[in-house]
């Protein structure tokens, strides 16, 4: 005795295939890692130039260890200090990212002269939400549009408490 398989037939299998095809295409990775930083929104922070050297090339492009790290609001930490240096005039962008690389806060592009700079950042997101305890990457991008320079560096920050 034979019976027809009503569900597992050719038409339904093709339907299944076409349902999943868009999912696969959407998940294909066509981008390079350098394009993976999501940049959106803005956040306010203060930047203070500690001193300035007129001649370029004295400092390299660099991001110093941020501090305090770990950050703990309960023991009196109020802001993160971000020190960086520029070897030449250039655009600077600082991005706060969650562990996946999604930006939770981003500082506006600034064109800065060569020298050493200090930024202070209270751990809040672009939308003003106080960031919860967790791990974050503080990423600096210098001269992103200059292929010969295009410096990028990240520091890992742990926020233990921010209540």
């Amino acid at each position: 005795m034979k019976s027809k398989n009503l569900f597992l037939n050719e038409r339904n299998l093709w339907l299944l295939a076409f349902c999943f095809l868009p999912c696969f295409l959407a998940c294909r990775d066509f981008q390079t890692p350098d394009q993976s930083i999501h940049i959106q929104g803005t956040a306010q922070y203060s930047i203070r130039k500690t001193f300035r050297i007129q001649s370029s090339g004295i400092f390299p492009d660099s991001l110093a260890p941020i501090y305090p790290n770990p950050f703990n609001h309960n023991i009196g930490d109020s802001a993160e200090t971000i020190n960086f240096t520029l070897k030449d005039t250039g655009e600077v962008k600082i991005i706060i990212q969650n562990p996946l690389g999604d930006s939770v806060a981003i500082f506006r592009d600034s064109v800065l002269l060569p020298g050493s700079f200090t930024g202070a950042w209270e751990p809040v997101s672009s939308s003003g939400i106080r960031l919860r305890a967790g791990l974050y990457f503080i990423t600096i991008r210098i001269a992103p549009n200059d292929p010969n320079r295009n410096y990028i560096n990240s520091r890992l920050l742990q926020i233990q408490s921010n209540d």
Binding site: K4, L8, L21, Y67, P99, G101, D102, S125, L131, G134
Partner: protein, 209 residues
């Protein structure tokens, strides 16, 4: 998967013999284990991380089903993945998911034929991100320190696949598992939707009766 489905068409004659459900005792439990590839939905998780478990790009899942009738089973599944960052060294995220749900055969069993099944459930996930920070209180005295942080999330899962019986008590299956998370938003510093598609090959064995 698409190729498999197409192959499934060829391998599944439309006039396959339907096996009678009556008189076939239900097993007490069904154990299963699976290895799967994982494709995250979130772009950043997809591009900046790669799955790496003991050097292999797979995640593993195991669990147990409690048959309710010849078609439906209650299911408890554990799914574990380890993903390492591609943009910085020594940083990884381990995720353990617990899924509570149901698994249902969407068609009757046919002799020597694939059998379509679906599943749905609630997933709870604990992700642990770990890396090395430059611990310092003044920016001068720096001590490299290993740190980790737990992230918790809730989501839903859907599954679809085909199963092929090897014996009366065992079978292999090929399935797609989709997880979607919604309880840990990025804007407050969370990981967001860490779910994705898992395409896996597994083995099931029935125990009891």
């Amino acid at each position: 998967m698409i190729l498999f489905l197409i192959a499934g068409v060829a391998a599944s004659p439309l006039d396959a013999q339907v096996l009678p459900d009556s008189g076939k005792p239900l097993p007490d439990i069904v154990l299963f284990a699976e290895g799967a590839g994982f494709i995250p939905f979130q772009q950043s998780y997809r591009i900046n991380y790669q799955t790496s478990l003991a050097g292999l790009p797979i995640e593993i899942a195991t669990g147990v089903c409690f048959p309710v009738n010849s078609s439906l089973s209650a299911m408890c599944e554990f799914r574990y993945k380890r993903r390492t960052a591609a943009f910085v060294s020594d940083f990884r995220i381990k995720t353990l998911e617990i899924e509570l749900g149901v698994r249902d055969y969407l068609e009757k069993e046919h002799e020597k034929d694939l059998r379509l099944y679906g599943s749905a459930g609630l997933i709870l996930a604990k992700s642990t991100a770990a890396g090395i920070i430059n611990a310092t209180s003044d920016g001068i005295n720096v001590i490299p320190s290993e740190v980790s942080q737990d992230y918790f999330n809730i989501g839903i899962a859907l599954g679809l696949g085909v199963e092929y019986a090897l014996t009366n008590a065992s079978s292999i299956y090929l399935g797609i598992h989709m997880g979607i998370y919604f309880a840990d938003p990025i804007k407050s510093g969370g990981l967001g939707n860490i779910g994705g598609l898992s395409i896996g090959l597994g083995y099931r064995i029935a125990l009891g009766n």
